[in-house]
Subunit: 619 residues, 2 copies
């Protein structure tokens, strides 16, 4: 094992530097905010990255919104944010979390922590059907339909898992995605003090199966794992299809001061999961039920989980486009490790194990390592181009290293600003990456944009990777906080422009004549219509205390004509997109006169699109 022999002093330096903030890192010293690009470079950059008015971006980038709970849709190469898709947090601009459908979706939570978005795949290629994301905070996953760009399902909180950071990465035909837990906790949900951590706390992996027609997610099965932290995952492909790989840190099982205590061991692990073997174990009944979930204990069912040493506290694990290698990114090591999948299988077959940890075999590192590549300080995540090109973000060094699979040498390095977490390349998680673009998702912006107070934006930087040398060609600030993103060729998506007129929906009203208000006791139901530039009805009379339901259909079946519906002082706003019917419910608990109005500018007479809710006081 090569990486053990010299990295210790460097690690200490990094830790000290990170804690004190005083480490000198090339690229971080630029506080002057003047471009250091030459005029030739600027000219090249604008030719490549500026999308003239009227032209479209070439690629969509789907970025996690982190603790905003949302997904950001960004055009590449312009880096313009085209749309924010609300997923886990309410969004009054679109009424997400206000109307009944989306309120129910959110399940009583008001936020989520989206880490890793994953586009659905067919034969290892992005297919433009669905986008899946995780919620690290509340143990959930969500599915966005890319026909409408709407969140259609939120699954969870899923029992027995805690902080599924190690998600979402789909398998090559979107059979599954795996959700490994960042945090360990008692899997049965019981209360246990931290002195019982090693006995009573568990890591876990949740496999989610996906319906190929609808994208609907279902919990399939779970693995009980050692009480370590699982950081990132990736699915095998090609020869390694059927496997999933997770990075693993805190194999020290520390419970306090993790920044020191979880970095003590020389190595942590990559955890490799044979998910086809897990499927088989489920079929054979080799599981226990826990809180309604099917849980496999790999210590009791061999052949599913294997470990292999990785440089300490790895962050990303990434499978090469050809599926022949999986790459561990050391985080606290200056190198990445490439593992040869074929040798890995051979070692398993030969039982070439160095030890068993908690009943799980540890594959002999020296037998399966293809190479350690010294990419630089703080490697977090690797993405791929064609022809074996690989790009690794270097958090501590504030740079991106380009290196080559098979040759195992660093070919180029580009400074970024500052401290990149993930990076993402055009079609970079597929079996056939496009090359061309790489976006560094930098955690710090510092001086790169106009200052906006103590909290700076994150900073995305676009690198042209079409040539031998990487070239920085664009950058843009972004709200907190992209962790990972995927970039898909624009023509793979074909979103609809209006909702189909659904004559079968009993809540929809398709003509003014059918607009009605029904009363049943103190329940008032409005079947209404929004149409440029009026609401039917434009007066709603109720009594104080009535339970009011409003079903509203937008019968403007015309591109880009969304209507909003806000009620003054009733804290209600929602929208209906062309052809859509949405519902709100509220109690008319405030007597008086309350205007309602179209909140989404729709026509020259938008300002006239208003009505009155009259709430008659109790006598």
């Amino acid at each position: 094992m090569k990486f053990g022999k010299w990295y210790v002093p460097m690690i200490i330096g990094i830790i000290v530097g990170m804690v004190t903030g005083n480490i000198f890192i090339p690229g971080i010293s630029n506080q002057g905010s003047q471009s250091t690009m030459t005029s030739t470079q600027i000219s090249a950059a604008q030719n490549k990255a500026f999308v003239p008015p009227g032209e479209h971006d070439e690629y969509y980038m789907f970025s996690s919104g982190g603790h905003s709970g949302q997904v950001f849709v960004i055009g590449v190469p312009s880096l313009r944010r085209i749309r924010t898709i609300p997923v886990f947090s309410p969004d009054s601009a679109t009424g997400y979390g206000y109307d009944e459908r989306t309120k129910e979706l959110m399940g009583g939570f008001t936020w989520g922590d989206v880490h890793h978005p994953s586009l659905s795949e067919t034969n290892g290629e992005y297919d433009g059907r669905f986008l899946f994301v995780n919620d690290n905070a509340n143990n959930r996953a969500a599915m966005v339909n890319l026909k409408t760009f709407h969140t259609e399902q939120i699954l969870g909180p899923i029992p027995n898992i805690m902080g599924p950071h190690s998600a979402v990465f789909v398998t090559p035909n979107t059979e599954y995605f795996m959700m490994g837990t960042r945090f360990s906790a008692p899997m049965d949900g019981s209360y246990q003090t931290l002195d019982k951590y090693s006995e009573a706390y568990d890591g876990a992996l949740q496999a989610i199966s996906v319906d190929q027609e609808t994208g609907h997610m279902t919990p399939a099965w779970q693995l009980k794992l050692p009480p370590w932290n699982y950081d990132l995952s990736d699915a095998g492909k090609g020869p390694s299809d059927g496997w999933a790989f997770l990075t693993t840190y805190n194999s020290e099982e520390a419970t306090h001061l993790l920044e020191v205590n979880a970095s003590k061991n020389e190595t942590d692990y990559i955890t490799a999961i044979n998910w086809k073997a897990a499927e088989k174990a489920i079929e054979e009944g080799k599981f226990e039920e826990l809180n309604g979930q099917k849980v496999i204990d790999p210590a009791k069912v061999p052949g599913i989980v294997y470990l292999v040493a990785a440089a300490k506290s790895p962050h990303g694990v990434d499978v090469s486009p050809d599926g022949k290698y999986f790459i561990g990114n050391g985080k606290l090591s200056p190198n990445i490790t490439a593992y040869d999948f074929e040798k890995f299988i051979q070692a398993i077959e030969a039982e070439d194990f160095t030890e068993e940890v908690r009943g799980i075999p540890v594959v002999n590192y020296d037998s399966v390592v293809a190479a350690e590549v010294e990419v630089g300080l703080g490697p977090l995540h690797t993405q791929f181009g064609p022809d074996g090109d690989a790009y690794t973000t270097l958090f501590v060094e504030s740079a991106v290293a380009k290196w080559k699979l098979g040759e195992w040498t660093v070919l180029d390095k580009e400074t970024v600003h500052y401290s990149p977490g993930h990076g993402t390349a055009a079609e970079g998680d597929t079996v056939s990456p496009d090359g061309k673009y790489f976006v560094a998702l930098n955690k710090l912006a510092k001086d790169r944009h106009l200052p906006v107070g103590p909290s700076h934006p994150e900073n995305m930087q676009l690198i042209d990777i079409s040539g031998e040398q990487m070239e920085l060609i664009n950058e843009a600030p972004i709200d907190p906080e992209p962790h990972y993103a995927q970039i898909v060729k624009a023509d793979k998506l074909s979103p609809v422009k209006i909702y189909e007129k659904d004559e079968s929906n009993p809540l929809a009203v398709w003509s003014e004549e059918d607009v009605r208000v029904e009363r049943d006791g103190n329940n008032v139901t409005v079947y209404g219509v929004a149409l440029r530039s009026r609401f039917y009805p434009d007066e709603i009379q109720v009594n104080e205390g009535d339970n009011v339901t409003i079903h509203l259909t937008n019968i403007d079946l015309d591109q880009d004509i969304t209507h909003g519906f806000g009620i003054n002082l009733y804290d209600i706003n929602f929208e209906v997109q062309p052809g859509q019917t949405n519902t709100i419910k509220f109690t008319a608990d405030k007597p008086g006169v309350f205007p309602y109005y179209c909140t989404n500018f729709c026509s020259a007479l938008h300002q006239e699109m208003q009505g009155y809710l009259l709430v008659k006081p109790k006598q």
Copy 2:
């Protein structure tokens, strides 16, 4: 009055077109999304609009976020969104609405409808101190401190006003801003049916005074106004300082089908307010108290409010930089009307009134009109450059018209995409506009960006106005929904980079030694610290049912090092910026083990920045 004689058939055509969506409007027919710019134009555009990596934008644009409830901070000329400032809606990314301070600010509401942002002014120039915005939905106003880019105050709901759309526009030394009501409602808050509209419903104007040191807003006085809709306002400047102007539509007093019934009269009004006379009336006690507010009835106190005819259903009213003219934008008329302020005063002094409406004198239009300029279809809003240049957005025509004060002729027209509401020019509301840039805030994007489902983004377009001809040089999509924006020279702002260490704050903890957990009965208070890359404490033990308060101080006094604090499954996330102390409170109502972790990426060991909340179950 010139505009009465020929616009009727055109209006009918516009209305029909807006309702059916079938009107042919030049510029809307481009569905092909290919740039129609020549390569020379593209080259010029990218030279002007592309901000190379490492360079800063020249201007900040502060844009309303509409029903998102927020403010968008955008760089000009790049049109990159640098920051979203949460104001009226929660934002889990920054913990806004989750921590105690911001939860209290929001006052139980979960959204607002921000229409018009206004930068504070000194001698009619933006001074970079404060930003004020309105909430049309809940009768509020908010103040953002531009040192921190944080919302510091939300005022309201203010009694007696309903839908203050006609705001915020500050007076030249930020003495006040006025909030005129878009909706009429019984001013006393009583329940009245719509058949009593003309007798029992009222419009209103609220004057808000501003503390010059802190930006703190206080309701000053109110005017009772006729039950019409007031759309936009502007403050006088120079010779017209001391006055405010509001556009007025629905002088028909229609209550139903406003898109037809509020457009019947040939003319509506500009409502002109002598706010210095109102101040004097308040001093002299000429007001009545209503729900705690001082209300002046202008029918009883002459000399404060005057009307002057305006082309029907005007949208914007804009005072020229020299203060000599106020411009009414017809909306349903193809022209703007420029009123000569000096003549307006002369007419008032000469009592040159054509009639009195509801006790308010109507100034003789023909005596005060300087010009009607036929700018094109659907003029909504006018902004200014130097040398008398004026720029009017044409919603129906999808264009911007350039014309000249004094000459009253249209000099140029630029097609935009599509349907601009407001436009905003560099320093365009000041006494000395910069020229150079104009941004059209288009309501529709249609085909201009990669499709994102039935709901399209809005579209901002940047026009170079430095030459004789306008030139479109950039465009960017934006989330719903900018209504108005102001553009300020970047060097006028000097935000802080960290919060000052406040040793006097009893809730703050500045060293690890002072970290503590205090228990008083079932109240548990944590005085904690966030510091790269750990929380003190990293274990919190409580009992089920305890009331938990956590005060957390970020003692990383270093630029761009924000820490987040999320608790799994407890639906809690908030942030502490460098030097800041924030507080959350919750009831520990779920027993078990709940990790907490830093949600805002802060260092290479961010992933290790975690702890455990252990909630011991009730026996």
